[in-house]
């Protein structure tokens, strides 16, 4: 095993080009577990800790450019307004110690369906900035997850940042685990209302081979909100609509039975979380609308 310690992004790209099998390590919260438990013996470890700008973020007019190594703690503390869904998801990641080290880049690199950030990333509609010595690519999040623990990256590419639209409406995230803290998701659900485009986006974690969106549920709800004039009226969403949305979200799952939960439970729980998070976001939207009208 060799330990590569690039001091700059350019050096990192060069190292990755020279050693495409090199495993990038930033927070270490996935890679080190595999090494400690002898599940993995990469030829090269590529340390990204010395590349300072990976841990920085920029809030632009429309988007947030989030460095791949910005810790979940920093996201919770600093980006709650701009990225509420991701901030909520960040808060459910493992433990304070892990949140201090782990970042979105790791979740994306590992591309495990259980990664806590995925539902929030999917529902936000972000793009992943990956780069190699050959150049930069912006990969839409919808195209990023291609298989079980596989993503759309080439072997010589590294994740530099994620570009997330700033929230234009309420966002929520919910995750089921069998413990009240420090737990890997049995399944998870993220939702983002986008009043500007009058759309709704979702993300489901741990209930299919990859993180997925519940597209039918989104389309159904987007149409129902439009047809009913709900965006304008801010009226409560009828239970029948919420129920249908939940059922469609459930239907978007393709889960397995494993030690963490049954497939049947995962489908069930995703439906419940879809209904509840829709309720919370819509209440929040209505509240904002009302206060805007009053002002």
């Amino acid at each position: 095993m060799d330990f590569l310690r690039p001091a700059s992004w350019e050096e990192a790209l060069a190292a990755k080009a020279e050693h495409p099998t090199a495993v990038p390590i930033a927070g270490g919260t996935d890679v080190m577990v595999e090494i400690n438990f002898d599940h993995r013996r990469p030829e090269y470890l590529l340390d990204l800790n010395r590349i300072g700008d990976l841990s920085e973020w920029e809030v632009g007019e429309k988007t947030v450019r989030l460095g791949a190594s910005v810790s979940y703690t920093k996201i919770m503390e600093n980006l709650r307004t701009e990225l509420p869904g991701l901030a909520l998801a960040s808060h459910t990641v493992a433990s304070p110690q892990i949140r201090n080290r782990g970042g979105v880049g790791g979740n994306l690199g590992t591309a495990s369906p259980a990664g806590d950030a995925h539902p929030a990333l999917l529902s936000s509609g972000c793009e992943v900035e990956v780069e190699s010595v050959r150049g930069v690519r912006m990969i839409p999040i919808d195209d990023f997850y291609v298989g079980v623990k596989r993503n759309a990256m080439e072997p010589d590419e590294l994740i530099r940042a994620v570009h997330l639209p700033k929230a234009d409406g309420p966002q929520q995230f919910s995750k089921v685990g069998t413990r009240n803290a420090m737990v890997i998701a049995v399944c998870a659900f993220g939702i983002a209302l986008h009043p500007e485009t009058r759309t709704v986006r979702t993300g489901i974690g741990s209930a299919a081979p990859t993180p997925v969106r519940a597209r039918e549920a989104e389309d159904f709800l987007t149409a129902a909100l439009e047809e009913g004039g709900f965006w304008e009226s801010g009226a409560p969403i009828p239970p029948s609509v919420a129920k249908q949305f939940a059922q469609l979200a459930s239907g978007a799952c393709n889960p397995i039975d494993d030690v963490r939960g049954s497939a049947k439970y995962r489908r069930h729980a995703v439906g419940i979380m879809a209904r509840r998070t829709l309720g919370w976001t819509w209440e929040s939207y209505r509240g904002n609308e009302r206060s805007a009208q009053c002002a």
Partner: protein, 801 residues
């Protein structure tokens, strides 16, 4: 009185008793003597051991559960740079190649076949742990898989493969099948006849999952070869002398050449009662001539120790309309896994305590432990009694409901008390305040509802089921309350010669009397060392007490298990202190007896470093009595003897003492997602006498939390098709975090047991019993579901299994 050197100060009572004026004696919450080292990181746990030039040992374990070993090829591993030794069964140096607590059925390294997933097959010693791991990975083993025994049906089928062929242990004569380790029936009265008097009958089938001790300090230790051909072993264990008895024969060494010292123990809970890496490290050290350290990681730890027996329990209870139990029939099937470990004792506890703390005259009980190809199971906090309590407490709720009686009042109506005859025919001869502890937990005010509500109708998710995972803001959340009570035996039962040894020394250092207490008691966190110092202060009237490290240079202390150490080793320390005190007074009489008549006539005590009369009169100081002399006594001490249970009727005075705890659980359940948050788990327990109240409460809260864990999350999942463990990690074997653990108010009763030192009662296990069924009862109360299995998973609460 003539010749009095100093008048008694006014107000001193005339009958001062030994220790009554001692500071830091029994009954006070003195602080741990190892506390400072533990908070500074200097306390040397077994995994912290380090030696110049030491090697690292690695164990290669079977990847299948039941298979013949066709071949083992170690050549590639041996050829690796940095590898010093590779050992298999063929390298064992002595005639004796097996070990075991009661039945020596466990091979040091697998011979010819493996009987469970993760069984040790080969050992490696190398200069770096990574080298050792790589070498172990290069050992080639060819397996030919055998049919699996995984449950009662497959174990006792007519053509069942035998897990152990050619059994010659002392249980084989009375078990109905060689795949049954031990069977203990208890028949008393006539259950069938009594059932006719019942107005209601409740039958239930219950399943208890496999729990892991999950102590935080994984198995580890250091073996250092000695110049005399022997070995020094520093290890974390629960019972040094039991280890020694099992280690020395397989090393081919006399016991005196295996010198064991207890190193820091990172928790135990039964999981260190059996041998883990002890023999392996010694073998490698003796083979290489170098110190060898073995440290399991968490994955290996799940294979490195026995677990709590999973169980199937079949119960039938009857009761009359007015709420009196008529009879009880039960069958308890415990899965002992591939090796016997403590299974026979677990069977004895499960059967003899299967009725619980209730009066039932007519019983028909049977408990068995199976040999299977599942992971070996043995000791864990409350063993046997824990599984039974889960089932009989569920039965009590069902009976009360069927009779339309209050669940607590129904229990109180049938509660045992001092004088009750156990199903084994043994009278309960010390206080048994079962009704009272139930009353106490019930009378406690309930925690306020909807504590999770904050201003503006928002919710603090940390206070809700799901916690930070943000699954509910109150939706679907229903509260439930449940009660349970349990009974656990204290100390080793069934005729076992349960004794301990204490060596106590008193001498004068820098003008002050100093006592040294030396025992082989394993301090595993329970605070035995704190209590020993308190006892020495009380009995010898000194302030300074040194606790000598535990090792095998002193006689056996027995195991740190069965809630027994404060009773038995505490008793031994008390006894040895009393003998030392007598000796000190004898020296005093010899030196000073002629100067003061009180030396001959009064009851003499040691208080505050002085010799005083029971009237409080100071005769002289301990320093003056001892001068340069030291008094040292090593003595064994044992509790009242017990008897074996009759193998047919189960009758016999098998237990020495009982311990009782009751819990009330208040839970909030997200009924839609099946997530549970325990809001409060209050406990009332009779401890006889709290030698150290702070430690007593700590034990009760810790035991309670382990019971909570197995109620809602903890289970080792064994694949029924392969008998492989599916979740050997802290990622998938979950234990409660601080956010899962509620406030645990504790109500301590002190009703003395006159048979025990200071009237104390062993306390460590009882709180683990009733905690689980109380939580289950509360979840049933919230959901209306029957829930006959523990742990409860979200699937069970949402019908999505």
């Amino acid at each position: 009185m003539a010749g009095t050197t100093a008048p008694s100060p006014a107000g001193v009572p005339t009958n001062v008793t030994q220790g009554s004026q001692t500071k830091g004696g029994i009954g006070e919450s003195t602080l741990r003597p190892d506390g400072t080292l533990k908070v500074t990181g200097e306390f040397a746990y077994s995994s912290d051991m380090w030696h110049e030039d030491m090697l690292w040992g690695q164990t290669l374990r079977s990847t299948v559960a039941h298979a013949e070993i066709v071949s083992i090829d170690t050549s590639e591993a041996l050829a690796m740079a940095g590898v010093y030794a590779v050992l298999t069964y063929d390298d064992l140096p002595a005639e004796v190649k097996n070990y075991g607590l009661e039945i020596q059925d466990t091979p040091v390294l697998a011979h010819g076949k493996v009987r469970h997933h993760g069984e040790p097959v080969a050992l490696v010693a190398a200069d770096h742990p990574e080298t050792a791991r790589r070498a172990a990975a290069k050992i080639k083993i060819e397996y030919k898989e055998l049919p699996l025994i995984t449950d009662e049906a497959s174990a006792t089928a007519p053509d069942a493969v035998l897990v152990h062929e050619g059994r010659d242990d002392h249980h084989i004569g009375h078990v109905p099948h060689p795949n049954i380790v031990h069977r203990q029936p208890i028949i008393r009265g006539d259950a069938d006849e009594a059932a006719k008097k019942a107005d209601v009958i409740v039958k239930g089938e219950y399943t208890f999952g496999m729990q892991d001790q999950a102590f935080l300090g994984p198995e580890s230790g250091l073996a250092v070869p000695g110049e005399d051909g022997g070995v020094d072993l520093y290890v974390a264990t629960q019972w040094l002398h039991s280890d020694l008895k099992q280690i020395a024969p397989v090393l081919g060494l006399p016991e005196e050449k295996v010198r064991m010292t207890l190193s820091g123990v990172g928790g135990a809970f039964g999981g260190r009662e059996d041998i883990s890496m002890q023999i392996h490290a010694c073998l490698l050290a003796l083979r290489t001539g170098k110190p060898v350290k073995i440290v399991y990681n968490r994955f290996e730890s799940f294979f490195g120790h026995v677990h709590r027996h999973p169980a199937k329990l079949y119960y039938e209870h009857g009761a009359t309309k007015d709420g009196k139990l008529t009879h009880m029939k039960c069958k308890i099937v415990l899965d002992g896994g591939a090796y016997a470990s403590a299974s026979p004792a677990v069977v004895g506890n499960a059967s003899s305590l299967s009725v619980g703390p209730y009066v039932v005259d007519d019983v028909d009980i049977e408990a068995i432990a199976l040999y299977t190809n599942n992971p070996p199971c043995g000791a864990m906090r409350g063993f046997g009694a824990v599984q039974a309590c889960f089932a009989y407490e569920a039965q009590m709720d069902k009976l009360a409901d069927k009779l339309g009686l209050d669940r607590v009042e129904f229990r109180q109506l049938n509660a045992m008390e001092q004088g009750t005859i156990m199903p084994t025919g043994q009278p309960v001869d010390s206080p048994a305040p079962v009704a009272e502890i139930l009353r106490r937990v019930k009378s406690r005010p309930l925690p306020p509802e909807r504590q999770w509500e904050v201003a503006d109708g928002d919710a603090d998710v940390r206070e809700l089921p799901g916690g930070l995972s943000n699954t509910t803001h109150g939706e679907g959340v229903v509260r439930g309350v449940g009660y349970a009570v349990g009974i656990k035996n204290v100390g080793f039962s069934e005729g076992f010669d349960d004794y301990s040894t204490a060596k106590v020394r008193i001498e004068v250092i820098n003008g002050e009397p100093v006592a040294t207490v030396h025992t082989a008691m394993a301090e595993v966190g329970q605070g035995g060392v704190t209590v020993h110092a308190q006892i020495a202060r009380t009995e010898l009237g000194v302030q300074q007490v040194t606790i000598h490290p535990a090792d095998t240079q002193v006689g056996s202390a027995g195991s740190t298990s069965a809630s027994r150490q404060t009773y038995v080793t505490g008793g031994a320390v008390k006894n040895s202190c009393e003998l030392v005190r007598e000796k000190v007074l004898e020296i005093g009489r010899r030196k000073f007896g002629s100067y003061h008549p009180a030396w001959a006539t009064a009851e003499l005590l040691l208080e505050g470093g002085k010799v005083v009369t029971d009237g409080g009169e100071v005769l002289t100081t301990i320093a003056e009595v001892l001068e340069d002399e030291a008094v040292e006594i090593e003595a064994e001490w044992r509790h009242r003897p017990t008897d074996a249970f009759d193998l047919v009727t189960g009758q016999g005075n098998g237990h020495v003492q009982y311990s009782f705890a009751a819990h009330r659980a208040v839970v909030e359940v997200d009924t839609e997602l099946g997530l549970v948050k325990v809001i409060e788990l209050s406990c009332a327990q009779d401890v006889g006498k709290a030698l150290n109240p702070l430690s007593v409460v700590g034990q009760i809260q810790g035991g309670t939390t382990q019971g909570l864990g197995v109620a809602v999350m903890e289970e080792i999942i064994v694949d029924p098709k392969t008998a492989k463990v599916r979740n050997p990690s802290f990622t998938d074997y979950l234990i409660p975090t601080i956010l899962d653990t509620p406030t645990i108010p504790v109500d301590v009763l002190e009703l003395a047991d006159d048979h025990a030192p200071y009237g104390l009662r062993g306390i460590g296990e009882a709180p683990t019993l009733s905690s689980t069924p109380a939580v289950l009862a509360a979840i049933r109360n919230a959901t209306g579901l029957e829930l006959n299995k523990t742990p409860v998973r979200p699937e069970h609460l949402t019908g999505t299994s």
